[in-house]
Symmetry: C2
Subunit: 345 residues, 2 copies
Amino acid sequence: MTAPQGDFLAACRRQPVERTPVWFMRQAGRSLPEYRALRGTGNILDAIRTPEMAAEITLQPVRRYGVDAAILFSDIMVPIAATGFGVTIQPGVGPVVDEPFATPADLARIRPLIPEIDAPYVAETVKIVVGELGVPLIGFAGAPFTVASYLVEGRPSRDYAKTKSLMYREPALWAQLIDRIADQAIASLLAQIDAGAQAIQVFDSWAGGLDAEDYRRYVQAASAKIFAAVADHAPGVPRIHFGVHTGELLGAMAEAGADVVGVDWRVPLPVALTRTGDGVALQGNLDPVACVAGWEATEPKARAVLDAARGLPGHIFNLGHGVLPQTDPDVLARLVDLVHTETAR
Amino acid sequence: MTAPQGDFLAACRRQPVERTPVWFMRQAGRSLPEYRALRGTGNILDAIRTPEMAAEITLQPVRRYGVDAAILFSDIMVPIAATGFGVTIQPGVGPVVDEPFATPADLARIRPLIPEIDAPYVAETVKIVVGELGVPLIGFAGAPFTVASYLVEGRPSRDYAKTKSLMYREPALWAQLIDRIADQAIASLLAQIDAGAQAIQVFDSWAGGLDAEDYRRYVQAASAKIFAAVADHAPGVPRIHFGVHTGELLGAMAEAGADVVGVDWRVPLPVALTRTGDGVALQGNLDPVACVAGWEATEPKARAVLDAARGLPGHIFNLGHGVLPQTDPDVLARLVDLVHTETAR
């Protein structure tokens, strides 16, 4: 007798579930006191490079909340950092690049990722986690546009002016840049799957800065290459595609090859499904700010998401973006209970 | 014989035009060398308080570009600053508040604006401008949510967590706060109209942080109060309503009472019209980043906007957000010519 696949994988596959599965982007992180205690003030990339610590951080929210999936504690810039491009993750800022990508000569700085040599700690962490975990582990990678935006801007940006200027002015160089990022993402994702990850999520967090025409023209193919490679290597592994401000991109993001499309809080889930088309499951989409305003604010907004999701072919409850650092973990614990209780068949 | 109303006002009213009118949000500002020369390093609020200087800055882009409308050089925080709340505009940052709004006691810090006493320089600037201007002048105010976000957060925010938490947790206090901001906006707009402004724009730049349900529940009434007061006082003056990331709010923003709805670059104009409903003109929506990547990048994107706008009942060409400071003015000059040439009847 085999173990059931569980509600998370079933929902990703648009199959019947016992209860709506729930997990939270950034569930492992600064909102948890046990995370802050374990991490201290050290560099986040150092923590990621320490499998026992990264595994423990990955497991913390699963123990505390009883969520239906874990997500690997890592960072979308790990492949870039591990292959020597020169990037640090600055607390309160985000990824900062020493020398931004600007010319064809910089292509040589983005070499193929060899996971077992460049970043063996990722697979080691995955193996530790899956050995202790009773729910699926989600591996992840950054999508080409989002990773490229950090390489070109040098740091987080409001408008992606340098990134999009490069895209418009030098489309051939841009295509090479994001193809290399896609290849790194593929190598990283396949290594995570081979080590035991049972689903993957591609974070194109900042794709929403693009209009749909630019997304299709300049970005979609590189992202689609990632989804195709995962499907080819591991046909049964659900592929989640997420970004914020992507209301107008949901169709194009689904086309890229996702099994599940993440939706931010601005788009009601039934509206999102009209844009993705009917072939995908949806993940989302509670406003993370609702969770920092106390349970009295969280509960009605969470119930509204559950109401909107009723009858969808597949729904994974999540926030519309990552857990904010100031979130009270008790609110998230009650939220998991609410989702499970209200959706029990 | 009366002068024709001109294409800008005609388009706002969904009446026939000779050519599609065009102006740019932030057309008066740091992208212009003549602006930088005139302003130097002084405080922006001081420049706004100096009518001869503010008028000259307002006129600069009209002279240079031949745009179809001017917009008053001012700031959405002027009423708040002029009534003593304590706010500065920090270069490269934005509005910064000394003591953020947090409790009912802070309501007393937002008193009614008496334009002729608190900010007489605004009407003086308007009068100078309209005396020299051959095109309509657009007056403006900040919308309640956007202004409130600065008062509550104390500075620009990515997630509006404090603002929305206040909204969720203390809806009565929130309603009083934004009603006071609305009253200040009304007083300011009516004074600008009385001084000669021929259209007004309400900037709810950050409303796109809200989902449509929250917008309708917590924000729409205060914004609608502004639009109703303008219509009551000056029935013929077109009212423009603008924000970014507002793809899911376009219907609710139109309902608030706008004659023209501003659209950011993410939503194709014909799609926007299906969301606003058919009773409004649309303003927009070229990606401002297209204008910093050279004319070769600007032109095809601008033509795509013109193509999308063909057949709309009323279209004012603009960017989807403000002119970026690094924009080459020559690109905007060519853009004005392109819009006028391509749409000449």
